[in-house]
Symmetry: C2
Subunit: 224 residues, 2 copies
DNA sequence: GGCTGGAATATGTATGCACATATTAACGCT
DNA sequence: AGCGTTAATATGTGCATACATATTCCAGCC
């Protein structure tokens, strides 16, 4: 076979063999040195290619154990965490924003396990796309982080992205029925099925917990 | 400062500087050669570290343009695509499966755009966790791929993973209200808000389109 | 002034080498 | 046979070097 030039080509070649079941699931594939020789490239190039495939779940690698095609490949999808304004703009719509409430409250029991028991700043805000409701931002914020920021014109989402980002966190999707508040804000009937995204963010201390509840029919797409 | 030993340490050092806004958003950071010299390691090591951070959205890199901290960091979360049986087992529950229907039909208009117009094999099946409904698998399958596979005992999900995997696809989350069929299968009231995951898979030709509708209250978690 | 083409530059990648490390496999002892 | 120690081995990583490539920037031209 023709010599392989770059690591991407090596990756494609390897993926082709996996897809063709030339390298069968559960089987060990030739080691890096052998592949490098067979493909006429350096071991580092093969390494890069196989490492890339392993990151995507197409291969499993272990020291000394060699590289093998997993029997049940756990594929990973990547999901770009939404920055709401950008999200809307990318859809070719005009973003809008309205602050609904901004209070200091004691969070409910379930939230206290994540954010602690201290009173938190509770912000509710509505994001609009072409003047139609897009999503409801229901956020609990560590007051030590936000201090005196004014969210009447700037959404907490946007402020956080610009000021407290680059942090750790968790993320989960679920569905919930619209309650009265959702119904009014998102302009839908109570009980409507809504997609919600819960996200908690922390650095050294808990920073924020937010639930984004999208307008009816919204879809969140993931890549790969 | 002390010399950096590995690329992970270099990555941590860089991430610390980003978090500390030592490298401010929008600003160019020193180039690889400078960092390598400052940190007492090879440029390849710095490259690996910064490349890793760029993949996670913490940095933006462009040839000749240098590396900079993005103003609005687009963070990426990774989401492991569920293999239902494993999913259930990892929760410490007993997986179960029941085939509901298996027919050859003409797909609805919206699906024809993805899967083509030919008649498709339409399979409906229920997955159980500890004998309780877990999720409903509503699948349209290219008959050329599945031929005469019997899905009474083995779920299409599992069969596909073992036989037609390593392919491309798309994935999206949304919420929908339970219709009569959902209600019966998932043992909930009609209209209940349900989380659904649509996934289409293709290699050279379209392979399958599936909607997994989860039992009420289910959450799908993403990492990072 | 505006456009074009060429130099300068930062990242991208390939290579050969060396050594580290995790794990398996083999060996030898009791 | 069973067990613990040791050697073998595949991947993980670091480094120095060289060249490739995409952009930016600037100079020079019209």
């Amino acid at each position: 076979m023709r010599a392989i030039t770059g690591w991407q080509e090596a990756r494609d070649e390897a993926l082709a063999r996996i897809r063709a079941r030339d390298w069968a699931p559960g089987e060990r594939i030739p080691d890096e040195v052998a592949l490098a020789e067979a493909w006429g490239c350096a071991r580092a190039t093969v390494n890069r290619a196989l490492r890339d495939l392993a990151e995507q779940g197409y291969l499993e690698r272990r020291r000394k154990g060699g590289t093998r095609v997993p029997l049940t490949p756990v594929r990973r999808a990547t999901l770009t965490i939404p920055i709401i304004r950008q999200d809307i703009e990318e859809r070719g719509q005009k973003p809008g924003y309205r602050l609904l409430s901004d209070l200091v409250e004691t969070p409910p029991e379930t939230l206290q396990q994540i954010m602690g028991t201290l009173p938190l700043r509770h912000i509710r805000a509505l994001h609009l796309a072409d003047d139609a409701p897009y999503c409801l931002e229901d956020r609990w914020l560590n007051p030590a982080v936000s201090e005196d920021v004014d969210f009447t014109a700037l959404s907490p989402n946007e402020w956080l992205v610009g000021n407290v980002s680059y942090s750790e966190g968790t993320l989960a999707f679920h569905a919930l029925p619209a309650d009265a508040a959702h119904a009014e804000a998102l302009n839908c009937a109570p009980g409507t099925a809504l997609l919600a995204l819960d996200r908690s963010t922390r650095a050294e201390t808990p920073i924020t917990w937010v639930r984004l509840t999208y307008a009816p029919g919204h879809r969140v797409e993931a890549g790969l």
